[in-house]
Amino acid sequence: MAKKIRAVVTLQLPAGKATPAPPVGTVLGPHGINLVEFTKTYNEKTADKVGQVIPAQVTVFEDRSFTFVLRTPPAADLLRKAAGLEKGASTPKRESVGRVTRDQIREIANIKMADLNAGDPDAAARQIEGTARSMGIEVIG
C-alpha cells in the first residue's frame, strides 16, 4: 500500500498498561488514529514486560492508518537497573544516589545505539553519561 508518512512520534509507556489518556490521547489523537486499537495492540505486545517502560515508535500515515515498532527501554531505566536503583536523585547536583562504571555506560550505549540517533558509539556513550549524571548517578572507572 502507498503508505505516505504523516508523522513519526515515540511514546514511552508503561508496558502492558497503556491507556488512551495523555500522552497517548493528546499526542496521537490529533492525528486521528484509532487510540483504542493502538493501546490494545501495544498492551498485547508488551504484556510480558509489565513493570518496564517500553517505547513505541509510531508512524502515522496520510490516511490515518498507522504502525508502530517497540524500541529499547529508556536509558534511564537501563541506568537504574545497572546501578540497582528504584529512582533517580531529586537533587542530582548535590546528591549522588548510585554508581555505574564506564563499561556499563558503554554497554547501555550499545543496547541503545540504534535508537539514539547518535553519530558514533562515543557520542552515544556521552548521551548516556549525561543522562546518568542528571539522575544523580556517578560514573566511575
Partner: protein, 329 residues
C-alpha cells in the same frame, strides 16, 4: 501559575513540553517522566524520503519531549513543574547540549478513547461508493454501495487518493457490467480489505485478499464479516504467487517499485483479457511502471490521476493475440 492557567479545574491536564537537542532527549525524558506518571512522548524532527514513503529522523533539528500531569491537584502540579524546571536547569552542567525553556499549557479533558473518531466522516467516493465508519449512521440512497469500515492500523481507510482511485476504478468495472457473480478478484496487499470489500459489494463472487502483514489479514477478515462478505471474500497472509486459478481482476494498491517488481506476477495471475488496477504510483514513477507492464505483456487500458498519484489499468493479452515486442511471460 497553576491557578492562572486553570490547572485547578477537574478534568484538565497540564502539558509540559521541552524542545531538546537529540543528544539531551533521553535525559529530558527522564526528568519529565519523574513527574508525568503516564509516560512521555518524543516527537523528533524527521525528513521524508522516497516520495514520503519512508522517514528518517533529522539529527540536526531538535525534538519535542512532552509529559502530562493531572490538573486536579493545583499544589502538586505546581511542585511538579518546579521540580521538572530544576532538573532541566541542571542539564547543561552535565555536558548535554542546550535545550529550550520548559513550556506549559492546559489541555482539557476529552473522551480520549473516541475523540479521534471525528477525523472519519462518512465519505463518498466516485459516484456510488460510500464509506461509513462503523460508529456513524448513513441512510442508504438508491444505487449507493455502502462499505462499513472500522479504521485501524491497516492501510486503506478511504482517506488516501490511491485508495479512492481504486474504488472509482472498481465502480467503473461494475458500471460496465464486468463485475458479476462469476468474477474472480485478487487483491494484492489488501490492507484493511477496503478494495476487496468494494469488489464484493459490487457483485464479484469470488475474492481473495493477500497481505504479508498479519494485522492486515485480521482487519480484512473482520471488515469482510462486517459487510456480510465472509462467504465470498477469503484472505490469507502472503503475496504472489497465489497458486489459485487465474482471475478476472487484480487489485494492487501498492507503491510503484512493488508494482514494477510484481508486474510479471500479476500477469501470471490473470486470465487472458483479465484486468489489473494498479495504484499507489507516484506520478514521476509512472514511466517505470508502464515499462514493466509492457515487459510482462500487460497493455495499459486506463489512467486516472488524483494529486500526485496515478492509477493505471492494464489488460492481459487475450488468447491468440500477438505477443508484446519485448518477450512477456
Amino acid at each position: 501559575m497553576a491557578e492562572e492557567d486553570g490547572t485547578s479545574a477537574e478534568g484538565t491536564w497540564l502539558e509540559l513540553a521541552v524542545t531538546a537537542d537529540l543528544e539531551a532527549v533521553e535525559a529530558v525524558s527522564e526528568i519529565l517522566s519523574r513527574v508525568a506518571s503516564g509516560g512521555v512522548s518524543v516527537e523528533p524532527a524527521f525528513e521524508l524520503l522516497h516520495e514520503g514513503l519512508d522517514a528518517r529522523v533529522d539529527p540536526a533539528r531538535p525534538a519535542i519531549v512532552r509529559g502530562y500531569l493531572p490538573g486536579r491537584d493545583r499544589l502538586a502540579a505546581r511542585r511538579a513543574v518546579a521540580a521538572a524546571r530544576e532538573g532541566l536547569g541542571h542539564l547543561q552542567a552535565f555536558g548535554l547540549r542546550p535545550i529550550g525553556e520548559l513550556q506549559t499549557r492546559v489541555v482539557h479533558e476529552s473522551d480520549w478513547a473516541s475523540a479521534w473518531k471525528r477525523h472519519f466522516p462518512v465519505l463518498r467516493v466516485g459516484r456510488r461508493v460510500v464509506i461509513r465508519p462503523t460508529w456513524r449512521r448513513h441512510r442508504r440512497q438508491r444505487g449507493e454501495v455502502v462499505l462499513a469500515l472500522d479504521p485501524g492500523m491497516a492501510f486503506g481507510t478511504g482517506l488516501h487518493p490511491t485508495t479512492r482511485l481504486c474504488l472509482a476504478g472498481i465502480e467503473r468495472w461494475a458500471d460496465d457490467g464486468r463485475l458479476t457473480a462469476e468474477s474472480r478478484v485478487l487483491d494484492v496487499g489488501c490492507g484493511s480489505g477496503i478494495l476487496a470489500i468494494a469488489a464484493g459489494l459490487f457483485g464479484a463472487g469470488h475474492i481473495l485478499g493477500l497481505d504479508p502483514d498479519p494485522i492486515a489479514v485480521e482487519a480484512t477478515a473482520a471488515n469482510a464479516k462486517r459487510n456480510g462478505l465472509a462467504a465470498r471474500l477469503h484472505v490469507r497472509r502472503g503475496s504472489l504467487p497465489s497458486r489459485e486459478a487465474p482471475v478476472d481482476f487484480v487489485l494492487a494498491n501498492l507503491i510503484a517499485s512493488l508494482v514494477v517488481d510484481l508486474a510479471a506476477g500479476f500477469a501470471r495471475e490473470m486470465r487472458p483479457g483479465g484486468r489489473l488496477l494498479a495504484s499507489g504510483i507516484f506520478v514521476d514513477r509512472e514511466a517505470d511502471v508502464r515499462r514493466a507492464f509492457k515487459t510482462a505483456g500487460l497493455t495499459p487500458s486506463g489512467r486516472w490521476v488524483e494529486g500526485e498519484w496515478v492509477a493505471l489499468e492494464a489488460t492481459a493479452r487475450s488468447e491468440g493475440s500477438p505477443l508484446q515486442s519485448s518477450g512477456g511471460r
